[in-house]
């Protein structure tokens, strides 16, 4: 069975590149371009990993992270935060996520981190 990954990322280019990369590795990918569409996602499609961008047009990925942690259904779903802006230390302080990735990333490292978090869960 394919592992499922939900991506919340406002930039279409990054969304597409990440999708292509993860799909080529056999993951099933769901994408959202803003917080409101993410919050409206179907509860049936609960993924094995959330990949969240920080700066979003209608909200902040770190808040989304905290929200997921506090909700019963998603409290234990692994989360990886992605940002081009904040340093990892800054992100670590703001939310409890399994891992952090800074943009721009190396695809091999990206896949390794994603694979490790998904396998651990």
């Amino acid at each position: 069975m394919h592992k499922r990954i939900s991506i919340l990322e406002d930039d279409a280019g990054i969304r597409e590149a990440a999708t292509l990369l993860l799909e080529s590795e056999g993951y099933e990918v769901l994408t959202f371009s803003n917080v409101s569409s993410f919050m409206a996602r179907s509860p049936l499609s609960e993924p094995d990993l959330y990949l969240l961008d920080v700066m979003l047009p209608d909200g902040n990925g770190l808040e989304v992270c905290s929200l997921l942690r506090s909700a019963h259904e998603t409290a234990h779903t692994p989360i990886i935060m992605m940002s081009a802006h904040e340093g990892i230390e800054q992100m670590r302080k703001s939310c409890w996520a399994e891992d952090f990735i800074t943009k721009p990333f190396d695809i091999y490292e990206f896949l390794e981190r994603v694979g490790k978090v998904v396998a651990d869960s």
Partner: protein
Amino acid sequence: MNLPDKDILAGLIEGSPYPIYLIMGEELRIAVANKATLCAWGRDSRVIGMRFPEALPELGEQPFEALLKNVMATGEPYSAVNDKAELMVDGKLVTSFYTFSYQPVTDKAGRTVGVVCYATDVTELVNAVDKNRQLTQKEVANNSSLARMNEELMAANGELASTNEELLESYRQLEASELRFRNLIQQAPFAICVIHAADLVVSEVNSRYLELVGKRRAQLDGRMIWEGVPEAADYYAPVMQRVISTGVPYLAEEAELTLVRQGVPEQVFVDFVYEPVTDLNGTVVAVMVIGIDVSEKVNARKAIEEIEERIRLAIQAADIGIYEMSYLTGQLTTSERFDEIFGVKNVRRETLLEYYHPEDVHLSDNAHREGRLTGNIFYEARILPPGSPMKWVRFQARIFFDSADIPERVIGTAVDITEYKTLQQQKDDFISIASHELKTPITTLKASLQMLERMKNNANPVMFPKLVEQSSRSINKITDLVDDLLNVSKMSQGEVPLRKEWFTVSEMLDNCCSHIRDSGTHELILTGDREIRVYADEHRIDQVVVNLVNNAAKYAPGSEKIYLEVSRKADLVKVSIRDTGPGISPEKIPFLFDRYFRADESGSQVSGLGLGLYISSDIVERHGGTIGVDSVVGTGSTFWFTLPLDVP
């Protein structure tokens, strides 16, 4: 026989027609002075008890005090016959003659404790004798005069001859004396010119004077003064005339004169005096002009005054606050601007520190401590002036030490750098935004390229074109961002040239913003005058329209229609871009066209560098037009710009 009692004795002394007085002690205090004495002195009884020299100050130059002292010191009596004394009687100095004696008065041990004086006024006697002698002399003279006349006549001849010689000698002496006088004038370290009162002819002039007034000797010597220096005549001829008629010297300090030196008018400052020279009858026969050129002194002082004034103005213009503090007394002196920055005045350092931001208050002490070693103070601190928002202030000061190397006082400046700090913060924010904006397409580009590389030997026919397209899109985004950045830096250096040509505004609008039209999110509706042509840089104006339409699409995502309108206003064409979005709050409007300003501060992100409106306003303004916005919250915004029609 019984001795008469004291009162009788005192009465005897008091009543004596001869002056009797007693001086006691080293101090020469007047103990007794009878009526005759007081009368001779022209004083009353108040002198009794006073010191002799104080009671009779006019005797200071005369020998009496010394004589009394001598009697006191030696115990030897002194007497004089027909001696002259000058005393102040009824406010007039009266000359009298006395025969008197100073007798020492001793105590029981034989020590001299005082001097008693017995005197007789012999003035009349002396005068009579004198007159008698004169008369006698006259008679003797008459007798001998006949004989002498004869002799004299004989002598006269001889005398005439010698007089002639004497005259010659006097003349030679006079000549020598005049020569000395001339030399004196010539060698004097200041300018001297002697002018005859009667005809104002210069009789004597030294080279310093000639130098001062910039003339040659021939122009002045032996000529009427105002012919020599006509440029000074208007003002100074009447002044000199007054000195001649009144005999009162005229003094001038730092008189400003325009003198023609070697044919060139020059401003000089001179200290000078017109000193009247009188003959034996007191008539002014000449005026001696003595002068010193103080131009250098005056100019140096004026230069310093000017520099001070300039510094003052510079300080004022630079908005620099000044302060001085004594380490010994803690006294703090501050300028008006300094007080303005802190919002308080006449306080001590301790009070000022209370207005520092709590996190910055230690900076002052640190700086002073370090300043003891380096002599300099430099720090920037936040202050919270009463009743105004936080300020950033830069302090720069110099510490002055005494000879023992102990800090004595500190003099420094305080500058409000709040605006600079705000700008710096905006710039930091901008760099952070710019780097984020660049990292986004770079992330896509890097991922796409790595994926392409990974499949280089076994290309996936579906993914390959997608990745190539993704890469080139990312590169375009990066190029656009870099262009924006370059444009801004070129703009600040004024380097973007305009390439103007004639074009029709509506055609330009029809063709622009294909990316918005293609995306299908917004509909662009063009209205207004389709015929208007302008002379402008079409590419730049297109850029402005794209920026404004992009903003409308970005900030008014719910506004499906964006209206473009072209209209003519007098000699201007106005292009408006209207949306029906949320509008802009009025407090943001004044800053919209500033560099680095971004409308959203909510933390949510809108892509772009926030430079669009800044670049647009620069383009419009360089065309001689204006840019602006009318916005109502809840109704929508209309961004517009105008371009002049009457060019070229």
